[in-house]
């Protein structure tokens, strides 16, 4: 909790043969399989078929992608040692730029514009934090305020101006004229085959088919792009020398500088990419609703930041965090109270599993607490058939809070994140 604990972490009497932390592939696969099993189980018990329905998962992806992109942007920034609380603002810039270019030049141009818009925000953040050494959070907040102001001002100037071409085409002070659609695609044979399979309602098999079908049915090209960016980020940051340098800027910039690496440059690059990713997240929203509309980001930049911490500063983790968020959001949007009610059972089962795990590791108290909570959730599930809308709306946030409370202590922040760094200065 305090810096003093790091002394203990460092202390490893006769440290040889320590283990590397993190998920190995088999472990991750096992987890996924376990999750699917639980989901199927709950589906069968509660008869809420939408839990594993393809549309539910397609929609989860739709909600997850912009948050995930913001989270990925946060990851780039923080891996290079700079906190980026300005993601929200950069997303707004991306959203705006996409809406502005989109109605004139089409959705793909909008995507490009969104990336550029967000990158500009990242550049401002880099200028403030890297060159001028402003506190990262302070600069981020300032960027959020500025971006909001600029976007609203320009929207009024460019979209809502009486008699302008934009206003003719349907723009107003709060929104841009609509742009063309990017048509989603389905993989022909596979999509139908999985669809048939999912329709059988077989335990586990149909559930797996339903979920997998979301990957081949009505998939947005931008989602594909986002997935590629996640994979690309992993490869770039963890498999290339560029990534090694960038990450070491976030771990120990002094050491990095002393090895002849231009830390400022890497931080600049990281922040511009960070902004660009957030901007792409904004552009995704614009393309989704086919226009810029005031307030569309709706705090997704902050949520992205949350998924980044949730995901332990790793692309896979960010994706999982955004996925969870998207899943819960889709569930509550599409299904409403009844379906979210079913997840009570899901949570109860998950907590029960965790309780067993903790018990096996000798943590009786924690195990008992978890088991107790699980029983309470189960009782709640039994006693009611639905959940009030208000609670349903809050469910993604409650879930995030719960998961973080359980796992926050296993997180590993980049060491130098948030510390101002001056070239040639020791501290």
């Amino acid at each position: 909790m305090t810096a003093l604990t790091t002394l203990a972490e460092r202390f490893r009497p006769g440290a040889p043969g320590q283990k590397r932390r993190g998920l190995t592939y088999p472990k991750a696969l096992l987890l996924v399989a376990g999750a699917l099993f639980l989901l199927s189980l709950v589906r069968v018990i509660t008869e809420e078929n939408s839990l594993t329905a393809t549309d539910q998962w397609v929609s989860a992806m739709t909600f997850a992608v912009p948050i995930g992109l913001a989270g990925l942007g946060g990851l780039w920034a923080e891996r290079s040692g700079v906190i980026n609380i300005g993601l929200e603002g950069m997303m707004m810039l991306g959203l705006f730029a996409a809406g502005w270019i989109g109605w004139q030049h089409g959705p793909w141009a909008a995507v490009a514009a969104g990336i550029v818009g967000g990158a500009l925000g990242g550049l401002v953040h880099a200028l403030a934090t890297v060159t001028f050494g402003v506190d990262h959070i302070v600069s981020g907040v300032a960027i959020n305020i500025l971006a909001l102001g600029v976007v609203q001002f320009l929207a009024k100037q460019w979209f809502g101006n009486e008699g302008s071409a934009a206003a003719e085409a349907g723009g107003n002070d709060k929104q841009s004229p609509p742009m063309d659609r990017i048509e989603p695609f389905s993989v022909p044979g596979l999509s139908d085959w999985l669809g048939d399979l999912a329709g059988q309602r077989w335990f586990l098999v149909s559930d797996a088919a339903g979920v997998l079908r979301a990957l081949v049915h009505n998939v947005s090209w931008l989602t594909v792009l986002a997935v590629l960016l996640f994979v690309g980020t992993y490869l770039l940051l963890w498999r290339t020398s560029f990534g090694l340098r960038l990450r070491s800027c976030g771990e120990n910039p002094q050491a990095t500088e002393s090895l002849g690496v231009n830390v400022y440059l890497y931080k600049y690059v990281a922040l511009i990419v960070s902004g660009a990713l957030a901007g792409l997240g904004g552009a995704y929203l614009a393309v989704l609703i086919r226009m810029y509309q005031d307030g569309q980001t709706g705090g997704r930049g902050y949520l992205g930041l949350a998924t980044m911490i949730f995901g332990n500063w790793r692309p896979g983790g960010v994706a999982a965090g955004a996925g969870l968020f998207g899943f819960m959001d889709a569930l509550q949007t599409r299904g409403g109270g009844a379906v979210v009610h079913a997840t009570l059972l899901l949570f109860a089962l998950v907590l029960l599993g965790l309780a067993v795990w903790q018990y096996l590791r000798g943590r009786r108290v924690v195990a008992a607490a978890l088991a107790g909570t699980a029983v309470l959730l189960w009782a709640w599930y039994q006693a009611t058939d639905t959940m009030p809308l208000e609670l349903v709306t809050a469910s993604p946030y409650l879930t995030t809070l719960l998961v973080l409370t359980l796992f926050a202590q296993r997180l590993r922040t980049p060491r130098a994140v948030g510390k101002p760094y001056r070239r040639g200065q020791d501290t």
Binding site: P13, P16, L244, S248, E251, G260, T427
Partner: protein, 538 residues
């Protein structure tokens, strides 16, 4: 390699002034000088991290001018810094290849090359270990490996031995010899003159930023060298007349502490710690860093909660008391890492004077602060302890290390502690300040203060202590009589090879105490991660 007329000015300070040094290929060249003499600055200039204001550098007769470390590296210069420059969260391999990825990539080829180098020079590093998991000596070797990996022909080592025990120092010197035999050049900075004399082929002395002489080790002795360095005679840490009473002041019994590492496994950090310190006694604890000394200090201070055992202060049980309560009850604390644990670097001196004693006069009355009185008392401390500062409103961060330490000692002593817990009280402090701090400890001891002393400087430890314990893997494994033990023996015991009561062989002590007088403890590089994050808190 030749450095001619190097001058470097910082705002208000001339760090280097007309420096002339010639280094022969294939030799070990030592650089000595007191704290702040400008050694590190000079090396940073050579490594391209700083640009000289005047002067020239020539390598193999060719004039060079580096714009950054990258260019120096390209010219075959490598540097191991005074403070470790490693990223804890990355693996050894990643730390080594960083910045030099072009050579062998970052994958299997690099791993092979590292293994090869490690074997050739007997460095014995494990490429896939996380740096945060390895010990200080290993880190040191990783630093050297980093330099070799870049194909350096000239190695700069800035105080590499400060944190090593004598055996590790020997191993390091052995490695260095191996390097010079291969035709590499080593430039080496140390405050430990004995070492310098034993390993160097040539020595250059720097005083107040300028070269005051070059000597050959064969032609000088530690005393002469020290006087050349400082320009005057040196104080000695030796203290012999005993003031120990039989009145127990601090008793620790059966202390046990285990911690959970990030894998969730529990490890024993401290076990079966028993000791008693009496009024007027200094108990020294020797041990290689990371064997639990820091945790012991924190457990006694109440910063960590042990899972067993008791701590008694002057007859009062304080095992469950808070840190603040313990301090109020009379424990003074000079922490090992002053920047992280003893000072608020951005706060003025007088606020730093309150730190840790904010509940006591003259800092507060009831819940209210009494800033005026605290300021007045800060002025007194500045005066009495000779803290060199333009005033008490400047931030603590702008004082030099030695002056910061004097302020800390002054602060702790101002509250008439019954027990002082001093961890590396003179680390990185220059000789003048060091003598003052020693004097202060001795004076208070005379008046009945009990001291728990932890130090990596074995001479200091032996010189100040009334009794000695050796700590190894969280246990007190041996004890020794400071009157008879030598640093070498103590060093051996610290590696875990001895237990029980250590007795000295009759012939040794004379030589040992000779070197005692001249060694100055090393600069504050003992905390390998001085630039650590302060927790992950945001």
């Amino acid at each position: 390699m030749a450095l001619r007329g190097i001058t470097k000015r910082f705002p208000g300070v001339v760090a280097n002034h007309d420096i002339d040094i010639t280094v022969q290929r294939g030799t070990v060249h030592a650089l000595v000088g007191e704290n702040g003499a400008g050694k590190s600055t000079l090396m940073k200039i050579l490594y391209g991290m700083q640009r000289p204001d005047e002067g020239t550098i020539a390598i193999d007769g060719e004039q060079v001018s580096f714009k950054g470390p990258a260019e120096a590296i390209a010219r075959g210069i490598g540097m191991v810094h005074q403070h470790f420059m490693l990223a804890d969260n990355l693996t050894v391999l990643e730390n080594v290849v960083l910045g030099a990825e072009k050579a062998h990539g970052i994958g299997a080829r690099a791993r092979r090359r590292i293994a090869e180098l490690s074997d050739t020079y007997g460095l014995n590093v494990r490429p896939d270990a996380l740096v945060e998991d390895i010990g200080v000596a290993d880190r040191q070797r990783v630093e050297i490996l980093k330099v070799l990996y870049r194909g350096a022909r000239t190695l700069i080592l800035d105080e590499p031995t400060a944190v090593l025990v004598p055996q590790e120092v020997d191993a390091l010197f052995h490695n260095l010899r191996g390097l010079t035999d291969e035709g590499l050049t080593v430039l080496f900075i140390s405050h430990k003159l004995g070492e310098v004399l034993s390993v160097a082929d040539a020595i250059t002395v720097i005083r107040r930023g300028t070269t005051v002489g070059s000597v050959l080790p064969a032609e000088t002795n530690p005393k002469q060298l020290a006087e050349l360095m400082v320009g005057s005679e040196l104080p000695t840490p030796a203290t012999r007349e005993s003031t120990v009473t039989d009145e127990p002041m601090l008793t620790v019994s059966g202390l046990h502490l285990s911690g959970t590492d990030s894998d969730g496994l529990r490890r024993e950090v401290l076990a079966d710690i028993d000791f008693t310190i009496h009024r007027g006694e200094v108990l020294g604890i020797a041990g290689v860093e990371g064997n639990g000394q820091a945790e012991l200090v924190e457990a006694v201070m109440g910063i960590r909660t042990p899972d067993g055992g008791s701590v008694t202060l002057d007859g009062a049980e304080i095992s469950t008391a808070s840190t603040r309560h313990r301090r109020e009850a009379g424990i003074g604390y000079v922490p090992e890492d002053r920047h992280r644990h003893a000072l608020l670097l951005d706060a003025p001196l007088w606020e730093n004077r309150m730190l840790g004693h904010v509940t006591e006069p003259p800092n507060s009355r009831g819940p209210w602060l009494t800033g005026g009185q605290a300021k007045a008392d800060t002025r007194r401390i500045v005066e009495e302890y000779d803290v060199r500062t333009p005033g008490i409103e400047v931030t603590a961060g702008s004082l030099s290390g030695g002056n910061q330490q004097k302020l800390i000692v002054g602060r702790e002593m101002s509250h008439q502690p019954k027990v002082l817990i001093a961890a590396h009280p003179t680390r990185g402090v220059d000789v003048g300040a060091q003598a003052q701090i020693w004097d202060e400890i001795r004076r208070a001891r005379h008046e009945g203060l009990a001291v728990l002393l932890i130090s990596a400087d074995l001479d200091e430890l032996i010189g100040l202590s009334d009794s000695l314990r050796v700590m190894y893997r969280g246990r007190l494994v041996a004890d020794a009589d400071p009157a008879t033990i030598t640093p070498e023996e103590l060093g051996t015991a610290m590696t875990g090879t001895a237990s029980g009561h250590l007795t000295a062989e009759p012939a040794e002590p004379a030589d040992g105490s000779e070197s005692t007088e001249t060694d100055t403890p090393a600069d504050g590089s003992g905390t390998p991660d001085g630039n650590d994050a302060e927790g992950g808190a945001r």
